[in-house]
């Protein structure tokens, strides 16, 4: 039973960053801008968040310090995504290429920044943020160990972000406009909506969440940040597609992918899986293959925003 709880707890640590970053992708793509720079933005967010913890690790009580670090990660992610927004929206650039530029820049910059400013490429921090046992809730039998023990504040933050995203996209004027810009920007424009502004909003929210996601990934899984987020940005892209651009489907996709990551990482330690004799590479590959299969099946009536990747040209009808 301990093993079962362990797997569930691990699944959360892998799933939550995937969820947040996939939602980041959602905001951008819903506004009509493809964002393959998620990986790079995660790196920048993680870099500055971790750097803050490296230098000011004992400035405030741990949980409060974590909030500051999260704000820094989100803020820097947002700033960095501005580069993508400018290229994609104002300069009508090929969005895949400008995303690639950000992805090339970020890891090099992390190494550069670490060496130059902090004197080390491997930025260490002290993980003081784990919550062993949430009072009252953690004592509930069965539910407690699954959700409220050995957890992080960020897990609940992820769930809150999920609900806020859903409400923002489906229940507000802003969300309606955002979706309109991703589906039929010309129509949105003629209805008096500024497509440029909405797309900037989409990409910037995307940057905020991706930056947050970067830090949220690094904190529970390591105590050093070494200029990598292990391809989670691209995996989040897969989560987004697997979840068919819908917040709650994305949530379940993230859980599935996180579970697969957990199994791949722990299959040697779980007797049941060890006896099955399936090499861990299979678990590692399954999320990607599953995404390909989903892509193949739903492509005929794809749920992808229709104007995704097309620069908006006011003069075009």
């Amino acid at each position: 039973m301990d093993l079962f709880y362990f797997v569930i707890q691990q699944t959360w640590t892998f799933s939550i960053p995937l969820l947040i970053v996939a939602l980041a992708g959602l905001f951008s793509e819903r506004s009509g801008v493809i964002n393959i720079a998620l990986e790079g933005i995660m790196l920048i967010g993680a870099l500055f968040g971790v750097s803050y913890l490296h230098v000011f690790g004992n400035l405030l009580p741990p949980q409060l310090n974590l909030i500051v670090a999260l704000l820094i990660a989100g803020g820097t992610g947002m700033l960095f995504s501005l580069l993508h927004a400018f290229a994609a929206i104002h300069m009508k650039a090929d969005q895949t290429i400008s995303g690639t530029a950000l992805n090339t820049f970020a890891p090099a910059f992390c190494i550069f920044f670490g060496r130059l400013v902090l004197g080390t490429q491997q930025i260490s921090f002290e993980n003081l943020f784990r919550i062993d046992h949430i009072p009252v809730l953690g004592s509930i039998p069965f539910i407690g160990p699954m959700f409220f023990q050995n957890t992080y504040m960020t897990t609940f933050l992820g769930i809150i972000i999920l609900f806020i995203s859903y409400i923002l996209i489906y229940k507000t004027k802003f969300g309606l406009r955002l979706r309109a810009c991703g589906e039929l920007p010309q129509a949105a424009d003629s209805a008096g909506i500024s497509v440029y502004k909405m797309r900037y909003a989409g990409v910037l929210i995307s940057g905020l969440l991706a930056g947050l996601g970067g830090l949220i990934l690094v904190i529970p899984t390591s105590t050093i940040f070494n200029a990598t987020v292990a391809g989670y940005g691209f995996l989040a892209l897969a989560v987004l597609i697997f979840g068919q651009w819908k917040p709650f489907k994305i949530f379940f996709a993230a859980l599935f992918f996180g579970f697969m990551k957990t199994i791949a990482a722990t299959s040697n330690a779980i007797p049941f899986l060890l006896n099955l004799g399936i090499p861990s590479v299979v678990y590692k590959i399954i999320p990607y293959i599953a995404t390909l299969i989903v892509l193949a099946f739903v492509s005929k009536n794809s749920a992808a925003p229709r104007a995704e990747g097309e620069p908006f040209d006011k003069g075009k009808r």
């Binding site: 290229a87 290429i97 530029a101 391809g231």
Partner: protein, 366 residues
């Protein structure tokens, strides 16, 4: 004069040059921020360092250029057909694995043939790896960028596993060295360019550049591909089988990247496939190479050498305490500027039409 100024190629060339200049200026600023006192020495080393090493430097530049010319060709060829092949890291590494596997085990082949077969293996496997995104794009209209990204990770994890299972050197935790008959012959190039591991791979890259140039510009097949790239609908109505062309374009692109992988790991330069969960950087580097080379095979050849030159220069900068990653930062700035090239071109176009008017009025005056 008017003709040159008006030509599409010229303005693209200028916008590439602008991108390079902006990238280098950006790099210089970064270097200045890092260490102002050493900045000039460091930057000079980046710009002229490889040349100062003489033949050794040139040999190194050519050697590192080989794989990125191949992946650049891969990206560029797909671009011409309207496809963005971001799957080069995956194709590169599966090609590399095929080459290493054949290189280690197929020792029954005569020595003159062994390395050639290994390279052909890399070429074929790289091509096969691109079949999936190609078919999905052609028949299911799945965005090739997304499917290629998935194939990249599948390829990386699979190769890590296969290396461990088949050609593993457990002491060093990397792939086994290939048989000497599978090492690409040096043809005396290491004597000319002493201190480098340059080999016949550079000639293979040149042959591929020429071959792709001929396919694109001199054959019906290449014409059809470009037609699909310009306007898939129009190509379809003109009776071109656009589905077949999409699949073939992806497969050829994948094969080129796979061959690049083979060329690196059969070079006998002490590079082995190591078990790391990182996508092959040579694959991604094909993107800036193709962008700077304007997807033109000849252009890709030179931009490959240029990026490789920067990489060698970046390594030389280390003696002044600068990190070689500065080159990646410069390259990313170059990619970013290339992405903006549409606007640069429009801006150039406005300038140009003014200039042309000036020339015209002058001619009119005379």
């Amino acid at each position: 004069m008017k003709k040159i100024l008006k030509s599409e190629g010229f303005s693209s060339f200028i916008s590439s040059c602008i991108a390079i200049v902006i990238g280098l200026v950006f790099g210089l600023i970064i270097i200045l921020l890092t260490n102002p006192s050493q900045a000039l020495d460091g930057f000079l080393n980046l710009i002229v360092g490889p040349l100062k090493l003489g033949m050794t430097g040139i040999g190194r530049v050519l050697f590192y250029a080989v794989p990125i010319i191949m992946t650049g060709l891969s990206v560029g060829f797909a671009f011409k057909t309207g496809l963005f092949n971001i799957g080069t890291p995956g194709q590169f590494i599966v090609g590399a694995f095929a080459a290493v596997y054949i290189g280690v085990y197929w020792t029954f082949l005569p020595s003159g043939l062994h390395w050639i077969v290994a390279l052909i293996g890399a070429f074929i496997v790289g091509g096969l790896w691109a079949v999936v995104p190609g078919l999905m794009k052609a028949y299911l209209n799945v965005n090739e960028v997304i499917s290629s990204i998935m194939m990249n990770y599948i390829g990386m994890y699979l190769v890590n596993y296969l290396v461990k299972e088949t050609v593993f050197d457990s002491l060093r935790s990397q792939s086994l060295p290939v048989a000497s008959s599978a090492v690409i012959p040096k043809l005396g190039l290491d004597k000319i360019f002493t201190g480098s591991t340059l080999n016949a791979g550079i000639f293979i890259a040149i042959i591929m550049v020429i071959l792709i140039y001929v396919i694109l510009n001199k054959t019906k097949f290449g014409y059809e591909m470009k037609a699909c790239g310009f306007n898939a609908e129009a190509a379809k109505y003109a009776g071109i089988n656009e589905k077949k062309n999409i699949v073939l374009a992806m497969v050829i692109a994948g094969a080129l990247a796979g061959l690049g992988g083979g060329l690196v790991y059969l070079a006998g330069s002490g590079k082995f496939i190591s078990i790391v969960e990182v996508l092959a950087p040579e694959g991604f580097n094909g993107i800036p190479v193709a962008l700077l080379g304007l997807s033109n095979p000849i252009g890709i050849f030179f931009s490959g050498i240029f990026i490789s030159y920067l990489t060698v220069g970046g390594n030389l900068m280390q003696q002044f305490g600068f990190i070689p990653e500065i080159v990646d930062i410069i390259v990313s700035a170059i990619i970013y500027c290339s992405a903006l090239s549409l606007m640069i071109k429009i801006w150039l176009g406005q300038r140009k039409s003014k200039n042309i008017k000036k020339i015209e009025t002058k001619e009119g005056d005379e």
